[in-house]
């Protein structure tokens, strides 16, 4: 079976490798598809749904990060419908928690903020939920602020896939879902956390940050995680 497939991306023919996802193929060809939960080095889960695309002949939108390319596939990555849904997803993310950019450690270096800017989200049409959420400051070096978490699970995956410590998971259901440390204990009481900080680096927002950083000071590095994952035979 030939390893190379040919697909149409927004009308343009491109070559892709069998087993690649639409997102990977698009990126390899310099095509931008917005995404938040997808990260090089981590297995895709399709959590944020920002990368939804239209595939000809399929009656529903498919996440580009978890859909494998197929020979002859025709994909639309940008359309009025997609822009509408992506904007809506971002607005709902902002409405669901308390994202206050001005005082956030990641202000100016935040993937959520950057994407909102790029997609022209200048206002949120939904009422804010204003949940009362705590910041977990029990870890000696890092802080978890649920107010800024978008449940992308990058931290969960980097901890299991790359570090192998399995500290993080998602607890509860629906709008009550929260990132939990082990069996829902304060981070400072974790028995498995190696304090490697990969979850902090992988976090696209200011939800996981190093302690002591003032507003705008937290920048993250994703490349070392991708390199590590690749050297350990993980997916890149």
């Amino acid at each position: 079976m030939p390893n190379r497939v040919s697909i149409r991306l927004d009308g343009e023919y491109i070559r892709a490798t069998r087993g690649q996802t639409i997102l990977e193929a698009a990126r390899a060809n310099g095509k931008f598809i917005p995404s938040l939960c997808a990260m090089k080095g981590l297995h895709p889960v399709g959590a944020c749904r920002l990368c939804v695309v239209e595939v000809a002949g399929v009656g529903r939108l498919l996440p580009a990060c978890t859909t494998a390319v197929q020979d002859g596939m025709s994909v639309t990555t940008a359309s009025e419908k997609l822009r509408h849904y992506r904007r809506m997803i971002l607005e709902l993310l902002f409405a669901e928690r308390n994202h206050v950019c001005a005082v956030c450690v990641s202000n100016g270096h935040c993937e959520l903020q950057a994407l909102a800017k790029r997609l022209g989200v200048t206002s949120v049409r939904y009422p804010y939920a204003f949940p009362r959420l705590e910041a977990d400051l029990t870890h000696p070096r890092y802080v978890l602020d649920h107010n800024r978490c978008i449940l992308c699970t990058r931290c969960v995956r980097v901890c299991s896939d790359v570090e192998g410590a399995y500290v993080w998971d998602i607890g509860a259901r629906g709008v009550q879902s929260r990132l939990v440390c082990e069996l829902n204990v304060p981070w400072g009481q974790s028995e498995n956390c190696t304090s490697c900080g990969k979850c902090v680096q992988a976090c696209p927002t200011g939800a996981l940050a190093e302690k002591g950083f003032a507003a705008e000071e937290m920048t993250k590095r994703l490349e070392p995680i991708a390199r590590l994952a690749s050297s350990r035979g993980g997916r890149i």
């Binding site: 001005a102 005082v103 705590e134 910041a135 400051l137 400072g188 302690k211 003032a214």
Partner: protein, 473 residues
């Protein structure tokens, strides 16, 4: 029949307020109240946040003096970390503070108060604003704009942003000063200094016109509170909080910031969200004290820079060692602006000012921290308590306008007694009541850490509590 006059709302102040004047049965002024009608709840909603976020959060209390909040907050955080910050960081914070004083005083004097002073208290309110000022005294309006711009540009050069910069951090500042930015500020300094000199000269020349106002504008016998250096001289960034009585006798020296509560109590009053701090040894409500430019010059021995000291000497020659009139806030503000410009030059010429060693790091080493700094409007206190992890458990902020609350109330009463004619709120009386409030340069959004709602209303109430006349201004 007694009555009440209400001024709702007072314009050209930062925030929104309402004034009520109560008349007795003979139509004389029985009492006056100053209501601040907003609440924002900063002290409450910061609970649970990491302490090192406090500078960024509390800076949002105010868009005019965010730097003061930043500095009081980082000083409180320095205490929680129990660090002595590097010397260059101290100098840079002071420099930023001086720049903010210049811009804030320029705003207060030229934009908010000069229209009253130069266009006449009885003038048409539609023209009594900075636009009217620009038409009648274009050179003065230009100076005002240029001086504020100087301060704002210096802040931007130092901190990266004019409003709500994130440069000042617990433990110091997050970026050293670049040589080109130092040179830029030094290059602009002479113009700023000549504006300050020119404005002082102009103001001194015009003082005779305001004899009546000086006599009746909050000409109160109160205590004063201000930061001073260890030597007793003028200080705005750090020092000892001192209280003096109306005759200049030293009442108290707060040696450690954490001891402030031994001397300052906070009372709540009906009808206003603004708390009323009072001098504890005297009690409430008699323990009135004032903070701000007048208080700072009264409490300080000297300014400590040559030109400002010369101006201070002349000011004291005219009005005595302990002037009382709230009208002199304006004069004091100009002297302070000159001081800050001189001080900026001294700081920029410090050999260490470009040093890259600008930040100390540490975790939580103390569970409580108090930061006291002078804001342009007076003493600003940030007091935090944290848990072992550094989450804020309790916060108390005392802002300049709060300290002045009881004094503003007394001043309004005094002006109303002098200028109220009969049972109507005349334009001249309304203007003077507002102008006396403006002399304190109150920042109401700061003082209640508050938000929203329209500006100021003045109401005249009868002894029975009936509203006789209400004006929104």
């Amino acid at each position: 029949m007694s009555r009440t006059l209400t001024i709702d709302h007072v314009t050209r102040i930062e925030g929104h307020a309402k004034i009520t004047v109560e008349l007795d049965d003979e139509g004389r002024v029985a009492d006056a109240r100053f209501h601040v009608t907003q609440v924002r709840g900063f002290e409450k909603f910061v609970e649970g946040r990491p302490y090192y976020e406090m500078p960024a959060i509390t800076a949002r209390i105010c868009g005019i003096c965010p730097v003061s909040h930043l500095l009081a907050s980082v000083k409180a955080c320095d205490e929680i970390m129990a660090v002595r910050i590097p010397e260059p960081a101290q100098l840079l914070r002071q420099l930023l503070h001086c720049a903010q004083f210049v811009q804030s005083h320029a705003l207060s004097f030229f934009y908010l108060s000069a229209p009253d002073l130069l266009l006449g208290m009885d003038g048409d309110p539609a023209a009594r604003n900075v636009v009217g000022l620009a038409q009648k005294h274009p050179e003065l309006a230009r100076d005002g704009i240029a001086l504020r711009k100087f301060g704002q540009q210096a802040i931007e050069r130092l901190a990266g942003e004019r409003v709500h910069p994130s440069w000042t951090v617990p433990g110091g500042v997050n970026k050293p000063l670049a040589a080109e930015d130092r040179d830029f500020i030094l290059g602009e300094l002479p113009i700023a200094r000549s504006i300050a000199r020119r404005t002082l000269k102009f103001f001194r020349g015009a003082l005779d016109r305001y004899r009546d106002e000086i006599e009746h504008f909050g000409n109160q016998s109160t205590r004063y509170a201000a930061l001073t250096g260890v030597d007793g001289n003028f200080a705005i960034y750090d020092g000892l909080l001192r209280f003096k009585d109306a005759d200049g006798n030293l009442l108290a020296t707060v040696k450690r910031p954490a001891d402030y509560a031994r001397w300052i109590g906070e009372a709540t009053m009906p009808g206003t969200y603004l708390k009323a701090p009072y001098f504890k040894p005297v009690g409430y409500p008699a323990g009135i004290y004032r903070v701000g430019p007048l208080a700072r010059l009264n409490v300080a021995e000297q300014c400590g820079t040559p030109e400002a000291d010369a101006e201070l000497a002349e000011y004291r020659q005219r009005f005595g060692r302990m002037p009382r009139s709230a009208f002199l806030f304006h004069y004091a503000r100009l002297i302070e602006a000159l001081y800050c410009i001189e001080r900026m030059e001294q700081l920029l010429e410090e050999p260490d000012i470009l040093s890259p060693h600008v930040r100390a790091t540490a975790g939580v080493n103390a569970l409580e921290g108090v930061g006291i700094a002078e804001a342009p409007r007076g003493v600003l206190i940030h007091h935090y308590r944290v848990d072992e992890q550094g989450a804020i458990r309790w916060a108390n902020l005392i802002i300049a306008t709060g300290h002045n609350n009881l004094a503003i109330r007394q001043s309004v009463k005094q002006v109303a007694e002098r200028y109220l004619d009969g049972r109507q709120l005349t334009e001249g009386m309304l203007n003077r009541v507002q102008a006396v409030v403006r002399a304190f340069d109150p920042c109401l959004s700061c003082s209640t850490h508050a938000l929203g709602l329209p500006p100021l209303e003045i109401r005249l109430l009868s002894a029975a509590g009936e509203v006789l006349h209400a004006v929104k201004v």
